[in-house]
């Protein structure tokens, strides 16, 4: 591995381009009025049009065009004054018409870019095109193994057939798995901010194929291109690219030729496997879809949509740093998701210090969400909770230990932070009278440390304060406790 790493650094450059498919979150499908909904019982959101019945005709969904233009604008694309749909002809049982209505040489959006940040450096990834097409149905492979290989038959559910699908094709501008991961993360955040897709990779509403090749540094030519399919999460993309980079690296070093092929990512085994060679390339027999008219979006409409664009993650990150004083790292964490940014901003408007709020969100709150597999929106905890927490902490009404307890409780029950503090007795005890007794006890129970402190070993004070905190169940104000201890131990010797 170490050897390969050296070779990688000196002998080869990785070239990555991504093709991402995004299911749009319109109310209805692309070409018919069936509901565009995930998780319905099989073959219930279907009609003669999306089942490809004889005689049926497609009529495009205006909202899907609007969403595609918005994506194009957010990615800095030019919106084509004239674009058309083509038919992409191939047989597959999940495709009711045995052709897919897609865009070919005249897509709706062309030539944009997406900026990503990796290790504090900004890279610009070119966007070749953004086009609109229809999704296919879902095939379940049945029989002995349940996998495509050993299957005896297949079952088709056409609920997803005809769902509007946007394809975002990047230029081969990425040079590492880290960059690809950052690109997909940034694209997802951008789509999420636009509100045009659920971007749930686990449900398939955002899917990604990666093209990878290796070449000598400085070479302009691309190496043999391998396409990796079936990347169902950002983590899969990252792992698959690392694996594939290594695999190609080793092959090239051994002088083994690579073939142009499609490979599948096997999440369980952590490897890619051979799918289809280029020699079996489809002959799609593209031709202009005669049942549909060209798209020629009114420039006025495009400008209206441009004006409606929300703040995108990159701009938000900048603002959070410049105006709210977050570090680049904090801003990256909080601003990269629309959901998180909304929560954060609401917390700040409720009076919380921005940096403290960001710290709590990316620390304890993130951990709680991870543990309970919840999204921020679904969780019971609110920006008001967090703002109150930060405020009480700032006013030293609670200790940070107490704050952790209060947050966990508010997260679990949705109860107000005030109520939790009262119920759990988390209010910091700061008056010398109440603390006096505990301090006497601690001195009594820890003769050796007390002796050390008296001999001038200042560091022991922290330990003694900790003992007071423990006794108070986290409620003691550590500053006051330290002062009182110092006073008591240095005073009457």
């Amino acid at each position: 591995m170490a050897e390969a790493d050296t070779a990688k650094a000196t002998r080869f450059e990785t070239v990555i381009g991504l093709e991402c498919h995004v299911e749009l979150s319109t109310a209805t499908k692309m070409f018919c009025g069936c509901l565009n909904a995930f998780g319905a019982p099989p073959n219930t959101n279907v009609c003669p049009v999306c089942l490809g019945h004889p005689g049926t005709l497609p009529v495009p969904n205006e909202k899907a065009i609007e969403y595609t233009i918005k994506i194009g604008l957010a990615l800095g694309c030019r919106i084509a004054p004239h674009s058309i749909f083509h038919r992409k002809n191939y047989f597959y049982p999940d495709m009711p018409k045995n052709f897919q209505i897609s865009q070919y040489d005249l897509p709706l959006c062309v030539g944009g870019h997406l900026d990503i940040e990796v290790d504090g450096e900004t890279h610009r990834v070119g966007i070749t095109r953004v086009h609109l097409e229809e999704d296919t149905g879902k095939t379940v492979h049945g029989g002995a193994t349940g996998r495509i290989g050993g299957a005896e038959y297949a079952l088709e559910d056409y609920n997803r057939a005809g769902v509007p699908l946007v394809e975002v094709v990047s230029e081969p501008d990425m040079r590492s798995a880290e960059q690809a991961r950052a690109y997909l993360t940034e694209l997802r955040a951008t789509l999420e901010s636009l509100g045009v897709s659920d971007v749930r990779m686990e449900e398939g509403s955002l899917r990604c194929d990666a093209n990878v090749s290796l070449r000598r540094p400085g070479s302009e030519e691309l190496g043999t291109k391998i396409e990796i399919k079936n990347l169902n999460s950002i983590r899969s993309l990252y792992r698959a690219l690392n694996f594939e980079e290594e695999r190609q690296q080793v092959a090239l070093e051994r002088g083994e030729p690579l073939i142009q092929e499609t490979r599948h990512w096997d999440e369980g085994k952590g490897i890619t496997t051979h799918g289809r060679s280029k020699e079996y390339a489809f002959d799609y027999r593209y031709f202009p879809e005669p049942d549909l008219a060209p798209l020629e979006p009114d420039p006025q409409w495009i400008e209206t949509l441009r004006a409606e664009l929300p703040e995108l993650p990159a701009a938000r990150r900048r603002r959070f740093q410049d105006e709210l004083g977050l570090s680049a790292h904090q801003a990256g964490l909080v601003a990269s998701s629309a959901e998180w940014a909304r929560f954060f901003e609401a917390t700040v408007s409720a009076g919380a210090d921005p940096r403290a709020a960001a710290n709590w969100m990316t620390g304890d709150l993130a951990a709680l969400l991870r543990e309970t597999h919840q999204s921020l929106t679904a969780a019971k905890v609110t920006p008001e909770h967090l703002a109150e927490l930060v405020k009480l902490l700032d006013e030293q009404v609670i200790s940070s230990a107490g704050a952790k307890v209060a947050l966990a409780e508010a997260f679990a029950t949705g109860a107000s932070v005030d109520a939790v503090v009262e119920a759990k007795g988390l209010r910091q005890v700061g008056d010398s009278e109440a603390l006096g007794g505990m301090i006497e006890q601690v001195i009594e129970e820890n003769p050796a440390p007390v002796e050390q402190f008296r001999k001038g070993k200042e560091g022991v004070l922290g330990f003694l304060v900790g003992q007071v905190m423990k006794k108070s169940g986290g409620a003691a104000n550590p500053k006051v406790a330290a002062e009182l201890l110092r006073e008591r131990l240095s005073g009457s010797g």
Binding site: P54, P93, R285, F287
Partner: protein
């Protein structure tokens, strides 16, 4: 000769129904009797719907009895070519691959006619997926021409043409992709009208070639053509190629005459080698009649029309190869038995489910769209299509209508051209250009050949200008007074 109710025009029947002189059920029973008498010999229908028809006729009679106003299609027996999807009624497109298919929805034209009280007597036989010019490509056997049972009725809407010609329906719908309404109308001696592309919704019409498919009508006279067109035309949001305008009332202005109208005569076409002398003479005589009625006639030409047939035989198969890909034995229709994987099942199903001509055109279209051939064939054919459209635009600057024979010949004998696809394709040489351009055109009977077969006269108009086409047709029809009837019917009434 005593004409029965089923032999009358729709406007005659409608007037009688409104006046209470006849009941819809009487008209229907007359039509059903005629079907019983002749359908076995003509093989017009693939599916008969008399049960449903009696219910529909009964409803019309109830409305009339309640003195409700009923529209011009109410109570009139109608036949639909079996490419129009009818909910709950088997729709086969003349193909084995759709033999078991019962659509779960209605096509727009039938939906509109149904709402107007039309009475559907059945689904008519046709060339498989509307591909053919003789009806011999039906998977269920050919239709015969009521004028001579040894000859073809034309195609692909031969069943609808034969039904109207033989009194088995008062009017009928067909489809015209390369002439499939006008050519059989010509061969069966009825009026066949194809309006502007998009004037009638294609929603629910089983597609052959999307950019060329037109819905058309078969009627006994031109007034009926205007009436049924008015009932089904107009914008349909389910067809993105449907014209946005609402349908005008085409009956108004029919009788405005042709005084001063400029008629362009397709002399090149009349001079074509394959045109029968009787056809040529009859068409020239009809032109003279138009001049006699006050029109002017001059020679017109469409320089690229010679290439129209070739362009058509590249574009139509290309679109059909894609449109017919959905017939794969997965979701509906026929599935061939046997083992293997899904691709083998698809291939067996399509190999056994499609007939010769359909396979030929799917192969042709697949080839001409495939990698490396697109520009030379499909792409070039689309450019030629542009040139034909420009020719029409040019010609219509000088003329209000263009006229020609509908077909080079009268009805030919069964089997005469089945072995030679190219000879069969030539049968549509005069009808194809108007499908490439999407312009309206009509065929009306203009005479009989010496062997007693009808000859069709074609009138072609400007884009969107159905009105002028119908006006010229009406004037000529009134003047010609073509009243011959198929000998078969004369024998029945004797």
């Amino acid at each position: 000769m005593t004409a029965e109710l089923c032999d009358l025009t729709a406007h005659d029947l409608s007037a009688k129904l409104a006046a209470g002189d006849v009941r819809a059920i009487d008209v229907l029973e007359s039509t059903l009797r005629r079907i019983d008498q002749v359908d076995e010999r003509l093989h017009t229908f693939l599916t008969r719907t008399e049960g449903q028809a009696r219910t529909q006729a009964g409803l019309v009679d109830e409305r009339v009895a309640r003195r409700e106003e009923v529209g011009p299609v109410a109570g009139i027996p109608l036949a639909l070519k079996d490419v129009f999807c009818t909910k709950g009624i088997r729709t086969t497109a003349g193909s084995k691959i759709l033999e078991p298919y019962v659509p779960p929805y209605d096509c727009t034209p039938w939906e509109r006619l149904q709402a107007g009280g039309a009475v559907l007597v059945g689904k008519t036989n046709c060339d498989e997926f509307a591909m053919g010019s003789s009806n011999e490509n039906s998977a269920f056997g050919p239709v015969r021409n009521p004028w001579n049972l040894e000859t073809v009725p034309g195609g692909s809407s031969g069943g609808s043409a034969a039904a109207v010609a033989s009194g088995q329906a008062v009017w009928a719908l067909g489809t015209d992709t390369g002439g499939s309404v006008r050519q059989p109308a010509s061969l069966c001696g009825v009026v066949g009208f194809k309006p502007t592309y998009g004037r009638i919704s294609r929603y629910g019409l089983i597609a052959f070639a999307s950019s060329l498919d037109h819905v058309g009508t078969f009627t006994r006279d031109v007034r009926d053509a205007a009436t049924i067109l008015s009932a089904i035309a107009g914008h349909d949001p389910r067809d993105a190629t449907s014209l946005p305008e609402p349908a005008p009332h085409y009956g108004a202005g029919l009788d405005a005459g042709v005084q001063g109208l400029r008629v362009g005569v397709m002399e090149d076409w009349l001079g074509t080698e394959g045109v029968q002398p009787a056809v040529r003479d009859s068409v020239r005589a009809a032109v003279d009649r138009l001049v006699g009625l006050g029109a002017t006639a001059e020679t017109a030409s469409l320089p690229h029309a010679d290439y129209a047939l070739s362009a058509y035989y590249l574009i139509a198969p290309a679109e059909c190869s894609s449109n017919l890909a959905r017939y794969d034995g997965v979701r509906y229709g026929y599935r061939a038995p046997g083992g293997g994987d899904v691709m083998e099942m698809n291939m067996r199903t399509r190999g056994a489910g499609f007939g010769d001509e359909v396979k030929r055109r799917i192969m042709l279209g697949t080839y001409s769209l495939s990698a490396g051939y697109y520009d030379a064939y499909y792409g070039q054919a689309q450019k030629v299509r542009t040139l034909v459209i420009r020719d029409y635009e040019e010609a219509f600057r000088r003329f209000d209508v263009l006229v020609s024979p509908t077909s080079p010949t009268t009805a030919f004998r069964l089997g005469e051209k089945t072995e030679d696809p190219l000879a069969m394709y030539l049968s549509d040489i005069f009808t194809i250009p108007s499908d490439l351009t999407g312009t309206p055109a009509v065929s009306i009977p203009c005479g009989l050949s010496p062997d007693g077969l009808p000859i069709g006269f074609q009138i072609m108009g400007r884009l969107m200008d159905e009105a002028t086409v119908l006006r010229v047709a009406f004037a000529l029809e009134q003047d010609l007074r073509f009243a011959a009837r198929p000998p078969l019917l004369e024998a029945l009434s004797a």
